[in-house]
């Protein structure tokens, strides 16, 4: 029968600490997520209204669930909402073309039972991708606005 000696315990603790460090636990603030207690159609409407209220234009809604169903797959309601500020998108695309694949911004919204879940990546992540100092305030503003939109959805009923 093996007994746990202090050295072994230390080794375990070290390997565990190393494991957590090496694997770089993904931080919770990299994805922005929210649960709306509203059913999907109402949450979808509230999302678009909130985006407009915060100064964004909704450019398109991708109906992911419709495409999946047409191809014979089962799925609940699932949409991706694209949005941006027209002048800002144009200027950013001109000055920072590498940013283009990330424009316009988007939020995925899908049904879970009687609720709707919303997910987007934190715009602050973009600051770690694109190191132009003048972009940082833009990403911070987007982050602030999206957090406000998600707060609207969390508290709407």
């Amino acid at each position: 029968m093996r007994t746990a000696r202090p050295f072994t315990v230390c080794l375990w603790a070290l390997s565990l600490a190393a494991g957590l460090w090496v694997s770089g636990p993904a931080r919770a603030d990299q994805l922005l997520m929210a649960r709306s207690m509203q059913a999907f159609p109402e949450a979808m409407l509230a999302l678009q209204e909130s985006l407009t209220h915060h100064g964004y234009t909704v450019s398109r809604v991708q109906r992911v669930d419709i495409g999946l169903k047409k191809m014979g797959f089962k799925t609940d309601k699932y949409r991706v909402v694209f949005f941006g500020k027209p002048k800002q998108v144009d200027e950013l695309a001109s000055r920072y073309p590498d940013l283009i694949p990330y424009l316009p911004l988007k939020i995925a919204i899908f049904a879970e039972g009687d609720n709707a879940l919303l997910v987007t990546s934190s715009p602050l992540q973009l600051a770690s991708f694109f190191h132009h100092p003048e972009l940082k305030p833009v990403f911070e503003q987007w982050n602030h606005d999206i957090q406000a939109v998600l707060d609207d959805l969390r508290t709407s009923d």
């Binding site: 494991g19 090496v22 991708q62 495409g67 609720n115 879940l117 919303l118 990546s121 770690s128």
Partner: protein, 351 residues
């Protein structure tokens, strides 16, 4: 005397000890709603995350397990690390989680369990591997109905995950094996005929995963570029056609072709030098959503062709870089696959 007065002025308010002054305690309910409800459900009944309200779960885990799980998460298993929360905030969340089920958790000591890991390994293969995987890697997928049916009320946890091993004490693992978890497929192994010594051996084996933690798909994400870019020797129109052909040739269905600012500016006012080609492989999409429904955020697949100062470039996001956001090792494989597909499409379109 003056020194003591100065210290008092500086320190006492900082500690919130001024008579009448109060520092608001963190609100566990609000913190839970903001940080946890999206996955675990507003009432703790589960979703992508485990059903925290389950009485058999509540009674078998100490507060320290909940605290450490919130703080460190589960690397590669969706549950992220809440590094941005203070200890006081996490304690408030733990306290709130405890309101989901009546009664106090079973008292468990921190005493390590002694057992024979070799015998435990044998028992694990016979009794545990079916659900938890041959190497304790856990069940596949993201959990309870996250917009799609699942056949288990919870996903069998990854016992080899450093987050789990760091949060769970030996006694907690032992108690779970002894008593099972009512309301989940986890049964009592005492009732299944194992002896307490067998269970100790199993605990010793599970604990031994710490010596060889698994980190599938682990890479240094910071070194990976967020965007895939290729120069095109063709004009914009030809390049767009090439992208469409290359995507279709790889079993993708063309969804739509549009200008970048379409829908943002009035029709007819779009910048026609930035063209997006959207395409999708629905089999792949369905597979990806089953692994992690949040990935729809980066769908449908998209390549953007841009003409700038007479030069044409082709852009795509780099899924390999973005996969890190989801904290899901299973998804990493698909993201790597998608990276290769984007690269191939861009290469072919600009050849």
């Amino acid at each position: 005397m003056r020194l003591y007065t100065l210290i008092g002025i500086l320190i006492v308010p900082a500690l919130g000890l001024v008579p009448g002054a109060s520092v608001a305690a963190p609100n566990g309910a609000q913190l839970f709603a903001r940080n946890c409800a999206v996955c675990h459900g507003a009432d703790g009944n589960g979703g992508v995350g485990v059903p925290l309200a389950l009485p058999s779960f509540q009674s078998s885990v100490p507060d320290s397990y909940l605290f450490k799980t919130i703080r460190h998460g589960r690397p590669g298993r969706v549950m992220p690390a809440f590094t941005q929360l203070s200890d006081a905030q996490i304690h408030a969340i733990v306290e709130y989680i405890r309101t989901f089920a009546p009664g106090k958790p079973r008292h468990l000591s921190d005493k390590p369990v002694k057992g024979d890991p070799q015998h435990g390994k044998q028992l694990f293969a016979e009794h545990c591997a079916k659900c938890h995987g041959a190497r304790g890697q856990g069940g596949e997928g993201t959990g309870v109905t996250f917009s799609r049916p699942r056949n288990l009320p919870i996903m069998p946890p990854a016992l080899n995950n450093p987050g789990f091993l760091g949060a769970a004490t030996d006694q907690m693992i032992k108690a779970t094996l002894m008593n099972g978890r009512k309301g989940t497929p986890m049964v009592s192994f005492l009732k299944q005929g194992l002896s307490e010594q067998d269970i100790d051996d199993l605990v010793a084996y599970i604990r031994s995963f710490q010596e060889h933690p698994l980190h599938p798909g682990q890479k240094d994400f910071k070194t990976i570029k967020p965007t895939i870019v290729y120069d095109s020797p063709y004009d914009l129109k030809t390049t767009v056609e090439n992208v469409k052909r290359a995507a279709i040739g790889r079993n993708f269905k063309l969804i739509r072709v549009q200008y970048l600012d379409q829908g943002l500016v009035p029709a007819g006012k779009e910048n026609t030098h930035r063209v997006i080609v959207y395409f999708c492989n629905f089999n792949f999409l369905n597979q990806a959503l089953a692994i992690d429904p949040r990935v729809g955020l980066f769908l449908p697949c998209r390549v953007t062709v841009v003409e700038h100062h007479g030069k044409v470039k082709v852009y795509a996001i780099n899924p390999e870089r973005l996969s890190h956001l989801f904290n899901n090792y299973e998804l990493n494989k698909l993201c790597d696959q998608m990276h290769d597909t984007y690269r191939d499409i861009l290469e072919e379109a600009t050849l």
